[in-house]
């Protein structure tokens, strides 16, 4: 694929009408709501949005109100990729039969980590394999927030959730985060990216790429949740940025399976001394508070080791093996 990245000015973005409007009922400082607003600023024309059950669906469509200025449909929790498949199939056949009013209509499907890593992975994998033309957005707040902060396959190691509580014996979630974006790369789809709400230009450019590309595109967006991660709502962007700066959530993309680091992470590869320790990130969130007790300190080391291991693996995939260990 060769597309020249979309160029825009901040002014243009501000002036572009909001397609995900205010008035929704998300908590103050909600990372996923910020992501949706930013993503909808990158649409290029007629767009249909479909979502899985989860916080963002629930806060934005309380009948008879809606925050959506585009056609929107939600059907269930585990099937958003199948929604997108059906919408795209209908668009194709209507176009063929001359019944489509618009030259092109983009399809965006979004789901949380629960709706993607766990219950929705079958429908997602199927839709990716079939090659439907749509952009899938995973907004990752690292737990089932809508139902009260239960662990998911996207919850990080050591985090305390209501189904992986930090107890006297077990220090939060024993398992590590599933490498979901790599799993999507392994589907050999044309575009996969990770993005963070702390780097909004990068998020917008990647959204536009995902829409422009023909076939399935997948974007994993890092979206802190003050309610579930237990931090002050004013810190959402700061925490998202720390996630990138610690390499807990590196920013990269694959075009036709070729990995490349995005600027905010590339700089850390080139200047490893700028890579921050995971403790800086962990200490800001009360979901990790128990890890700072003496008996659970080893978990922080485990987290750092896993972050380094995955970061180095990513560097290799991006042909940046020269980077030193942190």
């Amino acid at each position: 694929m060769t597309t020249t990245p979309w160029k825009f000015t901040a002014k243009e973005i501000v002036e572009k009408p909001e397609l995900f409007t205010s008035g929704h009922r998300a908590c103050a400082g909600c990372g996923p709501a910020i992501a949706l607003r930013q993503i909808m600023k990158a649409t290029r024309g007629p767009t249909i949005v479909t979502s899985a059950t989860g916080c963002m669906e629930v806060v934005s469509t309380i009948y008879p109100y809606t925050a959506w200025k585009v056609p929107f449909i939600h059907t269930a929790f585990e099937n958003v990729a199948a929604n997108a498949s059906g919408i795209e199939a209908a668009l194709k056949v209507m176009k063929r039969k001359g019944r489509l009013e618009h030259e092109n209509v983009d399809v965006i499907a979004f789901a949380g980590d629960g709706g993607t890593f766990d219950i929705g992975i079958q429908a997602l994998s199927g839709a990716a394999e079939r090659g439907h033309d749509f952009l899938y957005i995973l907004y990752d707040n690292e737990a089932y927030m809508n139902t009260g902060i239960q662990r998911s396959g996207g919850t990080p190691h050591g985090a305390s959730t209501t189904t992986s509580p930090a107890g006297r014996v077990i220090p939060g979630k024993p398992q590590y985060k599933k490498p979901i974006a790599d799993i999507m790369v392994a589907h050999d789809i044309p575009y996969v990216a990770t993005a963070s709400i702390s780097s909004w230009q990068d998020l917008l450019v990647k959204t536009r790429k995902g829409l422009e590309i023909e076939g399935p595109a997948f974007m994993h967006v890092f979206t802190p949740c003050p309610r579930g991660w237990r931090y002050d709502p004013s810190k959402t962007i700061e925490i998202a940025r720390l996630g990138v700066e610690t390499c807990i959530f590196p920013l990269w993309e694959t075009i036709d399976g070729e990995y490349s680091l995005s600027p905010q992470s590339k700089i850390l590869a080139l200047k490893p001394e700028r890579k921050k320790k995971v403790t800086e990130y962990l200490k800001m969130q009360r979901r990790f508070r128990h890890l700072f007790k003496p008996e659970f300190k080893h978990v922080i080391d485990e987290i750092q080791q896993m972050v380094d291991k995955r970061w180095n693996r990513l560097l290799k995939r991006c042909n940046m093996t020269q980077a030193s260990q942190s």
């Binding site: 469509t61 008879p64 056609p71 929107f72 449909i73 059907t75 199948a82 059906g86 039969k97 429908a123």
Partner: protein
Amino acid sequence: MAITQQKTLAINGDEAVALAVKQSDVDVVAAYPITPQTIIVERFSEYVADGEVETEFVCTESEHSALTACLAASAMGARTFTASASAGLALMHEILYVTSGCRAPVVMAIVNRALSAPINIHCDHSDSMVERDSGWIQIYAENSQETYDSIIQAFRIAEHLKVLLPIMVCLDAFVLSHTLENVQVLADETVQKFVGLRDVPQVMGHEGREVPFKLDPSNPITMGPLDLYDYYFEHKRQQEEAMKVAPQIIQEVHEEFSQISGRKYGNGLIDAYHLEDADIATVCVGSTAGTTKTVVDRLRKEGVKAGLLRLRTFRPLPLTDIVKTMENVKAVAVMDRSNSFGGHGGPIYHEIRHSLYDSPTHPHVVNYIYGLGGRDMPPAIILNIYKDLQEILKTKRVKRDVQFAGVR
């Protein structure tokens, strides 16, 4: 309208379904294979591969996704079809309710098959009967001809602006799905003209103006929202109102179809066989009605006033028709090809007994659970059921109200 030219094809029930779908100008077919429905999906795949249809065919990774894709395509204003059976239908359970709740007129063929465990691929009605409360219209066909005719009619009924409800057309596994039968088929153009193009109603949009009820970038609406105690109940009541209108539309479409095909199935809702003067009668759905009719013929020759009521639609339940046609019947045996474990009788029994509760003649109503997992229902067993009814008629006493027929 005149009865049009038709061809006779020797095809099985599944092939009849695939052909009816091919002729009905369907926009999106999304499906997943399961015995005994597979032939439908395979035949349709061949039509696609040979360029005989313009349909977008989505071969999904599960039934859950198949129905979801149909639902979403239907929300786009497309005409959609899927087919399933048994475990596949059970996997769709969640989305059945979402489909009817979104008022998406999806048409689905169900090839009735037993539910696991133990695993069994043969006919009974457990799979669709358990979904009777899911907000779908249910039509049960007696033979492959009726299956073909019903699929075509189903698009007109489901998509009717006063109905907008999904429909299951049910046919018996193997007995119909895999058995060759002479089926009269209409010309492609005749079917296309009959089904027409799908239309959508106008609804009040979020911005206070009327918009088409579909996902349309020029007129954005939100579908499938969060709907709490302040509106949900009204939406559910609207679904019930649509079910109340459905019988009239089913009958109108059935009547109109008979004018081009020359074929009728009772009044479209029920198929009454020798009930006018019957003292005793059985009630059933599906292919067992065919066998039962031959038994009734035999009894009639012997001077026994026997009859049969076949329900063509189980949802909506044709309650007034049931009461009216059973007016003079004194003993009724309901035949259920599924069981409601621990519930004292099968689902059809519950409905028929309930329907006849207020009938002035107050007949005896008994229940026979039969044919689970494809167990054969030969004429001899049906004859015994009528014998039991004669006994009840004579003694005016019911020995056992619910029993199994044909079980060891």
